[in-house]
């Protein structure tokens, strides 16, 4: 009896270990230059890449925390958090070969679906260590930028931050040649939680219509605050518009310079 119990326990622990390897969370530090004309204006945010067997999700840590608190029993404790510049969550699904990006603009929630881009990677001989893991250099171009990436063969997961994928190992570091967007991994943890695609409340929209929406909120940023059930003084909305228009003057450097 003891023998059988041991065999069953060994079997179960093997299954658990195997499933843990499939799921991991890579945390990246993203350094970005929001104004292409001002290299001294660099900002950083932590980004989270959660990887499951065939699906992964990528979003800013601030957005992840905000969404978690808003769903909790005490949503008003959200006020202590810093706002993220990145209002999206990107799902990559290898089974469907699709990327679904969910944009959350408070009153407007949109989903854009696209095919996972087939990046043409060149793998080079150079190696270096990141987090004490051997990494190999690779280069590619995507959406108007040339990129240098360092991937880990030891972690045979073909994924990476943002929409980057297609290498034989996890992308540990990736930056464009102008250094406007640089992701570097700062932690890797095995996860037990599955990545579940959840687009409840999001409306599918074309890239063309989404661009029109972005143009509208550039003219009047407070449109995203539309809620007939909430009343605030007009001066409060005007101040929001004024400050956001001023900030937008310096935000001219998106990660994707060219859209199909």
């Amino acid at each position: 009896m003891k023998k059988y119990t041991l065999i069953i326990l060994l079997f179960l622990s093997t299954i658990t270990l195997y499933s843990q390897v499939d799921k991991l969370r890579a945390t990246y530090e993203l350094t970005y230059q929001i104004d292409s004309t001002d290299s001294s204006n660099l900002k950083t945010e932590r980004m989270i890449l959660d990887i499951d067997k065939s699906i992964s999700s990528y979003e800013s840590e601030r957005k992840y925390l905000k969404d978690s608190i808003l769903k909790s029993n005490n949503p008003h404790s959200v006020y202590g958090l810093s706002k993220s510049k990145f209002k999206y969550k990107i799902y990559k699904d290898k089974n469907t070969n699709k990327i679904n990006t969910l944009y959350d603009y408070t009153a407007y929630k949109f989903e854009i679906e696209e095919i996972i881009p087939k990046l043409k990677w060149s793998i080079h001989k150079e190696t270096k260590k990141i987090l004490d893991i051997n990494c190999i250099k690779a280069t590619t171009s995507f959406a108007g930028r040339y990129y240098i990436a360092w991937f880990a063969n030891e972690i045979p997961i073909s994924d990476g931050p943002y929409k980057f994928t297609g290498l034989p190992g996890l992308i540990m570091e990736i930056y464009d040649t102008k250094n406007h967007y640089k992701h570097i991994v700062i932690g890797i943890n095995y996860q037990k939680k599955n990545v579940k695609f959840n687009n409840n409340g999001f409306t599918k929209i074309s890239q063309f219509d989404f661009k029109k929406f972005l143009k509208k909120i550039k003219e009047k940023p407070s449109l995203i605050l539309y809620n007939p059930g909430i009343q605030i003084p007009k001066a409060g909305l005007d101040k929001y518009d004024r400050n956001h228009r001023e900030r937008q003057k310096h935000e001219n450097n998106p990660i994707e310079l060219e859209k199909k």
Binding site: L70, V78, L225, N227, P233, G236
Partner: protein, 70 residues
């Protein structure tokens, strides 16, 4: 028989006395009541915010994004 008659009379009287009141009105009146409070934004401003028929999550998401325009 007398008891049965009294019971029926009570049931009818109760039913007709409430017939003129729309139960939806009572519910909506209670739920849709406008509530106001002072919201302190992160740059030292204070604003009167009123809301009705929105969840605490929606309200918190709105105030977090707006933050008095800071």
């Amino acid at each position: 028989m007398k008891n049965l008659f009294l019971t029926l009379a009570f049931v009818f009287a109760t039913t007709f006395s409430f017939a003129g009141i729309n139960s939806n009105d009572i519910t909506s009146e209670e739920v849709m009541k406008m509530q106001c409070f002072d919201f302190n934004d992160s740059c030292g401003g204070s604003w009167e915010v009123c809301h009705e028929g929105v969840s605490s999550g929606q309200l918190a998401a709105f105030l977090f994004e707006w933050d008095g325009g800071c």
